[in-house]
């Protein structure tokens, strides 16, 4: 699908939330959107999902079926989890039987099978988030739009959602998402954009990095790291700051701790390659 010169504002006199957005989202691609609170990320996701029409510009080639997970999914519906999902499955175009099966299957995958008969209003926050994610995945969406969908899920369900996204991508679906965790699907993102002041700034699909701050046995000691790390710099107090790809961080830490005399690790922080 393609966005050309897309701008959006709510109401005729409202401020522009987005302006001049051009974007290509191809089949099988994963798009990550970043930006501060109120930057217009959620608005852009709603335009992508076809919930709002852009005030100016054109969006074309939006595939079906589509799934959308809103930022905050309200539990205030007078249906059971399974009942709601079956209805939504039918809205997605599934037959009654297929909708029921898909509802059960997704509740099971997210570890919520036991809540199938629970009224939505009695679900915990995490439980209702599982239902929110499940409804978007019911029909095997060709376009999946996730607005902080991982927030509120437990660890196992987060991993399951990661897998579900990978499955959609493998099946040729396009996925767009926002998440506060910079490591989320970091290795899979094909494109990363930042929304700032209502415009879309392309960023390299930055890799997840880990910054390690370590103190050597002497002020001049060089870190005994395997291979060629991304580089290290010496701070004014003599300690060393290493920035390494997330995948290598364990090996680097091990090398530092295994050295004789050993290095002292001051801090380990995940960071993101500037995009």
């Amino acid at each position: 699908m393609r966005l050309e010169g897309v701008g959006h504002r709510y109401g005729l006199g409202g401020p522009w939330i987005l302006r001049g957005v051009d974007l290509d989202l191809r089949a099988g691609r994963l798009l990550r959107l970043q930006g501060g609170n109120g930057s217009g990320k959620s608005t852009l996701l709603r335009l992508l999902a076809g919930i709002d029409a852009p005030s100016v510009g054109r969006i074309s080639g939006r595939p079906r079926p589509r799934g959308y997970v809103p930022e905050r999914f309200p539990a205030a519906l007078p249906l059971t989890a399974r009942g709601y999902l079956t209805h939504l499955g039918r809205v997605h175009g599934l037959s009654r039987r297929a909708a029921g099966r898909a509802a059960d299957a997704w509740l099971e995958r997210f570890g919520a099978a036991e809540y199938a008969g629970t009224r939505m209003s009695e679900l915990s926050k995490g439980g209702s988030q599982k239902v929110a994610v499940a409804q978007a995945l019911l029909a095997g969406p060709a376009l999946l739009v996730l607005d902080e969908a991982w927030t509120g899920l437990d660890q196992a369900a987060r991993a399951e959602l990661d897998r579900a996204v990978a499955e959609r991508l493998a099946a040729g679906g396009a996925v767009a998402f926002v998440d506060h965790d910079p490591r989320r699907l970091a290795d899979a993102a094909d494109a990363v954009y930042r929304v700032t002041d209502g415009t879309l700034v392309p960023g390299a699909p930055g890799r997840a990095l880990v910054r390690i701050e370590a103190e050597g046995p002497t002020r001049a000691a060089e870190p005994p790291v395997p291979g060629t790390p991304r580089g290290w710099v010496r701070a004014a107090d003599g300690s060393v700051v290493l920035t390494v790809p997330a995948g290598d961080s364990d090996a680097v830490l091990y090398a530092l701790l295994a050295a004789r005399p050993a290095w002292h690790i001051r801090s380990v922080r995940p960071v993101r390659e500037a995009g």
Binding site: Y10, R46, A49, G50, I51, D52, A53, P65, R66, G67, Y68, V69, P70, E71, R72, F73, P74, A76, L77, P78, L79, G83, H87, L88, R90, V91, H92, G93, A132, Q135, A136, A139, V145
Partner: protein, 225 residues
């Protein structure tokens, strides 16, 4: 089409399970009980039953249009499109009002006296039933139009929506040019002479109004689901 019928069923389920249908049903039953008595002239009572159905139809359509919290509605919009979601709500509310109206028509036919108001001319029941159904349809259409205009996505603020619904209902019931009023007054004046009216013109007018009003709400939905 399958998506639309699925949306209508979903809206029915929300309406039934939420028990939000209860207040409009009770209000309608109350108004019916106050205005319709056994042995009253049947055409007169049919007119009354249709007239008081109009605000209830607007109410039910408003209930269906606002049944879901925004975020839940957005999920359906992503799945089926905003126009279908909006239409599903209006159809569900309108159909609920229609069922209520048919039940009321049947009750009037059972309870009412099949004569003109002065009791001299007898009124044939089957044509009277047809005229009652026509008037119910006209009032449901007009009420649904008002309800669709006074709820999301046209009017988002709840307070203004309720006020506008009340104002719109009064206007549609009282305005001289209103097809709903024409359908109702056709029955009440027909009751005076004992002639069963055929208010097809009123039904067409009400359908045209409903089409414009609902069309406007669909247009608004396609801009902002």
């Amino acid at each position: 089409m399958t998506a639309l019928s699925a949306l209508v069923r979903y809206q029915f389920a929300l309406l039934l399970r939420s028990q939000r249908w209860l207040p409009p049903l009770l209000v309608y039953a109350g108004l019916f009980g106050v205005g319709v008595r056994a042995g009253q002239p049947v055409l007169d009572s049919l007119g009354y039953a249709a007239a008081v159905l109009l605000p209830v139809a607007a109410w039910l359509v408003r209930l269906c249009a606002t049944a879901e919290p925004d975020a839940a509605r957005h999920c359906g919009v992503a799945a089926a499109g905003a126009v279908r979601v909006q239409l599903g709500g209006v159809l569900a509310g309108g159909a609920a009002a229609g069922v209520l109206g048919l039940a009321a028509t049947a009750a009037v036919l059972l309870l009412g006296d099949a004569h003109s108001t002065d009791g001299r001319v007898s009124v044939p029941l089957l044509p009277a039933a047809g005229a009652g159904v026509l008037a119910v349809a006209a009032c449901v259409l007009a009420g649904a139009g008002v309800g669709a205009l006074c709820a999301r996505p046209v009017l988002r603020a709840r307070g203004w929506g309720v006020l506008a619904t009340v104002g719109g209902v009064v206007l549609v019931l009282a305005a001289r040019a209103s097809p709903a009023r024409a359908a109702v007054s056709g029955l009440t004046s027909g009751s005076g002479t004992g002639t069963v009216p055929a208010s097809w013109g009123a039904l067409l007018g009400a359908a045209a109004f409903a089409a414009c009003a609902v069309g406007l709400s669909l247009l608004a939905a396609s801009r902002r689901g």
